[in-house]
């Protein structure tokens, strides 16, 4: 165990990412050629059979999303590639774009074919501005080879890809905020309904997919031997790109078959904790993810097993924190992040984050009493219930998990802890 399986990342380092000819020499655009001979619904079914869940963190069934997107009636449907991975400790999409840009372009064209879209928009975070030229070049070359534009591969399929840049707003990873940003506005989320799939970008039916989710599809369509379907476990099929960072010797992006244990990921792939220090906690899936202590190490990395252990796959990030950082220190930084990134539109998120920050500070100073702990618990209940978007819903996940995993930290009855 503890070995990678390069399926989604199969093309990494295999071709010159600035040349479509180089990509085609390793079989590039074969998946698209195959896709346009198939009915979109059949492709959606293949994706559904592989049980691909949205890899941006939300984990929505991708095959189902495509089937629903196909069913929506409306002209000028739109596909969006969410390349705004803003969850701290998440940088897998960065590698997918950097090392295999043409595969993403091919995947988007296939997505467009499946849902019957006329345009795709890639929304990439400003932090990855260095990858902009790479993608623009890939789009340009795909156009000159006839994979984009009018009547693609003689199938009467017209499709174009547009690249948009974010500008440093975590909240823009949220669907409605992302859409507003592409529309040329400040990226403040809006109430749903109307749902994006019916009325999204420019009020058109819109299907949003993450970079990694999309990147699987071309490989999956050409997977004759069923490598992907045989990898992983019956419920979590295939592989996952994980990004491991924090206190590890060898931080980076790895592609693992589902079912690899967390220990294998942290110790064998990421090299373990420097100076063999103890692990204080591991956060899964970014700042809005849950946390666990070292007891999670022997849990297999699958959707089900992680959920049973109280955490989520989320974006695929694993943040390892060693004993030098206290739980409260971790919570402070995480809370600072959400206080900074809250757009301030809705009261539960704006005020909840603010007050939670003050309460954490009080607890750190050893001045909190049981009524403060009660207030904290109340905030963790109210924010997910009443916030406008996913940011406010997820902001207290780490706190909720911390209260469960490290109850002693919140035990203000006795002497001040930590």
């Amino acid at each position: 165990m503890g070995t990678e399986l390069h399926f989604i990342s199969a093309n990494f380092g295999k071709y010159d990412t600035s040349s479509i000819g180089s990509y085609m020499s390793i079989g590039g655009f074969e998946a698209l050629r195959k896709a346009v001979t198939m009915d979109g619904e059949d492709i959606a079914k293949i994706v559904a059979a592989a049980k691909i869940k949205g890899r941006g963190g939300a984990g929505y069934d991708m095959g189902r999303k495509w089937t629903q997107a196909r069913a929506v009636k409306g002209e000028h449907k739109v596909v969006i590639c969410n390349a705004d991975e803003g969850e701290p400790c998440t940088f897998k999409d960065r590698e997918l774009i950097k090392q295999d840009p043409f595969n993403l372009i091919e995947a988007l064209i296939i997505a467009g074919w499946v849902v019957g879209a006329t345009d795709a928009y890639i929304y990439m975070r400003a932090e990855y501005a260095c990858l902009r030229q790479l993608l623009l070049n890939a789009i340009r070359q795909a156009k000159s080879y006839g994979f984009l534009g009018k009547n693609i591969l003689g199938k009467g399929f017209d499709f174009d890809i547009h690249l948009y840049s974010g500008a440093g707003a975590y909240v823009c990873g949220e669907g409605t905020a992302l859409i507003r940003s592409i529309e040329g506005k400040a990226g403040r989320p809006r109430m749903k309904p109307p749902f994006i799939k019916v009325s999204g970008l420019f009020a058109r039916p819109t299907c949003v997919n993450n970079v990694e989710s999309l990147s699987i599809v071309p490989h999956l369509l050409l997977d004759q031997e069923g490598v992907y379907m045989h990898a992983g476990t019956p419920d979590s099929i295939g592989t996952k790109m994980v990004s491991v960072a924090g206190n590890v010797r060898n931080p980076g992006v790895f592609e693992i078959p589902f079912g690899t244990t967390v220990r294998d990921i942290v110790y064998n792939l990421a090299g373990g904790v420097p100076e063999d220090r103890q692990i204080r906690l591991i956060q899964f899936g970014g700042a809005s993810g849950y946390i666990a202590d070292a007891s999670i190490l022997d849990v297999p990395y699958t959707y089900d097993d992680l959920e049973k252990a109280g955490v989520n796959v989320g974006t695929g990030a694993l943040l390892v924190i060693d004993e030098r950082t206290s739980v409260l220190d971790f919570l402070t930084i995480t809370q600072d992040f959400f206080s900074d990134e809250s757009c301030g539109q809705c009261t539960p998120c704006r005020e909840g984050n603010r007050h939670m920050r003050m309460l954490i500070e009080k607890l750190r100073r050893g001045e909190a009493d049981t009524s403060d702990i009660e207030k904290m618990k109340k905030i963790t209940r109210i924010m997910p219930m009443s916030s406008l978007c996913g940011l406010g819903e997820g902001a207290q996940h780490a706190m909720i998990a911390a209260m469960r995993v490290f109850p002693e930290v919140f035990d203000v009855g006795g002497a001040a802890n930590e």
């Binding site: 991975e85 803003g86 969850e87 701290p88 400790c89 998440t90 940088f91 960065r94 975070r125 400003a126 932090e127 990855y128 501005a129 260095c130 948009y164 840049s165 974010g166 500008a167 440093g168 707003a169 975590y170 940003s181 592409i182 529309e183 040329g184 506005k185 400040a186 990226g187 403040r188 990004s243 960072a245 924090g246 206190n247 931080p251 980076g252 992006v253 956060q283 700042a287 943040l319 924190i321 060693d322 030098r324 950082t325 220190d329 971790f330 930084i333 995480t334 600072d336 992040f337 900074d340 990134e341 757009c343």
Partner: protein, 166 residues
């Protein structure tokens, strides 16, 4: 309060032409406003969009100036206030935090003689805190004008970095 710029320096013809090029590279498409503003602020030595430039862009696109200022103040990467030739953004998120970004911050403050939020007297350097920019595998990291510099775990490396910018 925002009013039409009168006294403040008008844009030179040269800058207008450069902004026109930026607009053209985005097909004069107002939905690309974020990208346009990102490119525009790089035209100015201190990496911001001055009011005059914001109004000029508004005059060229079918959007009101208020929309442009809304974007300028909403997105962390955009600024309507002068920064520096080299705004040094120190990542303050968790992966950098557990890799001692506090020491990195103190080293930068010591070497530059300024605190976070301040600009050096010559307008060359500014220290800022920013949230995660996805370089967690190279923590602790800073970003300067879009470029990431990672593994800054010693004073020597920080000094080399600052010298390379001179």
């Amino acid at each position: 309060m925002l009013t039409e710029p009168k006294e403040q320096e008008a844009l030179s013809d040269e800058l207008r032409a450069k902004i026109d090029l930026v607009l053209e590279s985005h097909d004069n498409d107002f939905t690309q406003i974020v990208g346009i503003l990102l490119d525009t602020q790089d035209l100015f030595e201190r990496h911001y969009v001055p009011q005059a430039a914001a109004y000029y862009i508004a005059s060229k696109l079918p959007v009101p100036a208020s929309r442009i200022f809304d974007c300028l103040t909403f997105y962390a990467e955009l600024s309507d206030k002068a920064r520096a030739k080299y705004p040094i953004e120190i990542c303050s998120s968790i992966a950098c935090h557990v890799n001692n970004n506090e020491e990195l911050k103190e080293t930068l403050e010591k070497l530059l003689g300024i605190h976070v939020g301040e600009v050096t007297y010559d307008g060359r350097f500014m220290l800022l805190k920013t949230t995660c920019f996805g370089a967690c595998d190279r923590a602790p990291a800073v970003r300067i004008n879009g470029k990431v510099y990672g593994n800054l775990d010693s004073e020597e490396k920080v000094r080399d970095l600052l010298e390379s910018l001179n």
